[in-house]
Amino acid sequence: MGAAHSASAEVRELEGKTGFSSDQIEQLHRRFKQLSGDQPTIRKENFNNVPDLELNPIRSKIVRAFFDNRNLRKGPSGLADEINFEDFLTIMSYFRPIDPTLGEEQVELYRKEKLRFLFHMYDSDSDGRITLEEYRNVVEELLSGNPHIEKDSARSIADGAMMEAASVCVGQMEPDQVYEGITFEDFLKIWQGIDIETKMHIRFLNMETMALCH
C-alpha cells in the first residue's frame, strides 16, 4: 500500500516524458507485464506471445523498431538487447494522437518524430539513407507470402517506386548520375502537405470506471 505513493510520482514523471495519461500508463504497464511475463524487461522473444502479430507481414521490422537505438534515443545505430517499461512507453509515444490544440511548431515537431520512426524502419543499416536494396527489402517482405509473385516482379515494383521517389526528390537526373538513396530530408519532402496524423496514431478508448449494478 505504501508502494502506491512512490509509484504515482514515477507515473507523473512518465506522463511528462511521454505524453500519455496516467490511466493509459497503467493499462500499458499491465500489458507490459503480460508481455514480459512479469519480468522488468522485454526481449525480442517475448513478442512471440502476441498471436495477432503473426499475421503482419512486416512483423520483424516492427519488433526490431522496439529495440532500435535510434528510436529509443540511445544512440545513432545498433540494437538494444532488452527494453524496460520506460523504453516501451517511448516507442509507444510515437503513436500517440497529436493534440490539435498545441502550437504549429509543436505539431510539426511531432510529425517529424513520427516520420523519423518510419524512416528508421526502412533504413535498416542506419546510414541515414534508404538505398535501393533496403527499399527492395521492404517490398519483398510485404509481398513475400504470395507464391505467385516471382522475385523479379517484386524487384521491378521496388525499382519503379524508387525511380518515382528519385524524380520527386532530385528532379531530372543526368543519364549517368547515380541516385544514392533517399535521405531523411527527401523523405520529408515526399510527405509534405500530406496529412499523416490520422494514420499514424492509435486511438485509446475513453476509460471510464463502471458502476456496480446490484
Partner: protein, 456 residues
Amino acid sequence: MFLLLPFDSLIVNLLGISLTVLFTLLLVFIIVPAIFGVSFGIRKLYMKTLLKIFAWATLRMERGAKEKNHQLYKPYTNGIIAKDPTSLEEEIKEIRRSGSSKALDNTPEFELSDIFYFCRKGMETIMDDEVTKRFSAEELESWNLLSRTNYNFQYISLRLTVLWGLGVLIRYCFLLPLRIALAFTGISLLVVGTTVVGYLPNGRFKEFLSKHVHLMCYRICVRALTAIITYHDRENRPRNGGICVANHTSPIDVIILASDGYYAMVGQVHGGLMGVIQRAMVKACPHVWFERSEVKDRHLVAKRLTEHVRDKSKLPILIFPEGTCINNTSVMMFKKGSFEIGATVYPVAIKYDPQFGDAFWNSSKYGMVTYLLRMMTSWAIVCSVWYLPPMTREADEDAVQFANRVKSAIARQGGLVDLLWDGGLKREKVKDTFKEEQQKLYSKMIVGNHEDRSRS
C-alpha cells in the same frame, strides 16, 4: 499431572461427540439427498445470504474509497484501443488517396505509405490483442471477499477486514474439511460401487444400477464443491448414440454435466488416483479410455468413437472439443475430430458466475491439486447449463464448418465471444498459413494493378 487426566478424557469425549454429530448431519443433510436427488434448498439460501453480504461489503468499500479519493474500480477492460473495423483494401486506398498528388493515376503500384497500415496494425496488436486476453482469469467488478480476486485491495475499514478475516476462517476451517470429507466419500463410493456393480452379469439390471451409482457419486461431488447449478432446457438432454459437446473451463465441467445425465467419458488413461477411478468406472459400464500412444493416432480415436456411438445401448459420449481450458469469456476453435464421426451432436453451453469463485483452471499457473484446493476454499461454484437442441451435419458442410456452426450456437447461448483462434495457442505459436493469407491479400492488390499497367 493427575488433574489433566479427567480434563483429557473430557476433551476426547467432546471431540468424539462433535465428530459423530458432524457426521450425522453430513449424512442426513447432504449424502442422503444426493442419493435420491432431492434438494433441501440449503445451497440456494446460502447463495442469497452471500450476495447480501457482498453487496454490503462493496458498498462499504465504495464509501471508504470516496472518502480517501482512491480509484476503486478497474478501468473498463474490454480493450484499451478503438480498433478500426475497415479492411486492408479500404485503408490502403484511403491512405493513398490522401497522399497522392498524382491523383489522376488510379492505379499506383506501390507507395511508401502502404507501410503505415501494417505498422499501425502491428502496434495495435502489441498494445492489446484478443487472444492473450482469453487465457487469463476474468476480472471482477465488485469484491467477493476473496483476496485472490481483488486487485485494488487497500485497507478501507476495520469492519471490512474483520469480515474478510471471518470469511477466511469459515472457508478454511469449516467449509474446507466438510468438503474434503464429502469428496472423499463421493470418490470412494464411486470406486467401490462401480467395482461391485461390475461383478453382476450383463443386462438391464446392471445398466440401471451402474447409471445410478455414477449419478449418486457425481451428485455427492457436486455438493463437495458447493456447486449451485441451474439447468435450462432439460428436454434437449443427450440421448444414446449421440455426442455431447460443451465448452471447457475447468475439470469440474465433467462433474457438473454428469450429475444431471448419464454419459460415457472419453479421455486418456492416467496413473495414480485418477487411474484407479477410471479402471473402476469402466467395469460398470463402457467408457472410452485411450492409452497415451493411441491419442496421437487420429484414425484410431475416430474408429473407437464411431464404434461406441453406433451401439445404441451405450451412453452418449461427452467431449470438450476446445482441447484446453478457456477462461469462460469466449469459445475458441473446436477441433474437428468429433464432428467427423457423423453422429448427432448435442451442444451444451456452460457459463460460470465468477462472483462466488473463479472456476477457470490456468494449467500453466496452477497444478491440479492447487486448483482443487482453490475451488474448495471458494464460497461456491455457481453456474448455468443450457442444453441446446441437437444438430447434425448437413450434406454440403464439411467437418470444420459444422464445428464452427456448433461453436457459434454455444457461444451465443452462453453469452460468450465466438473466436476463430485455436485454444492450442496457449502453448504453441501461430501457424505460418495465417501470415501468408494477409500477405497474399496485399500482394494481390499491388500485383493486380501492376498487371493492368503492363497490359495497357
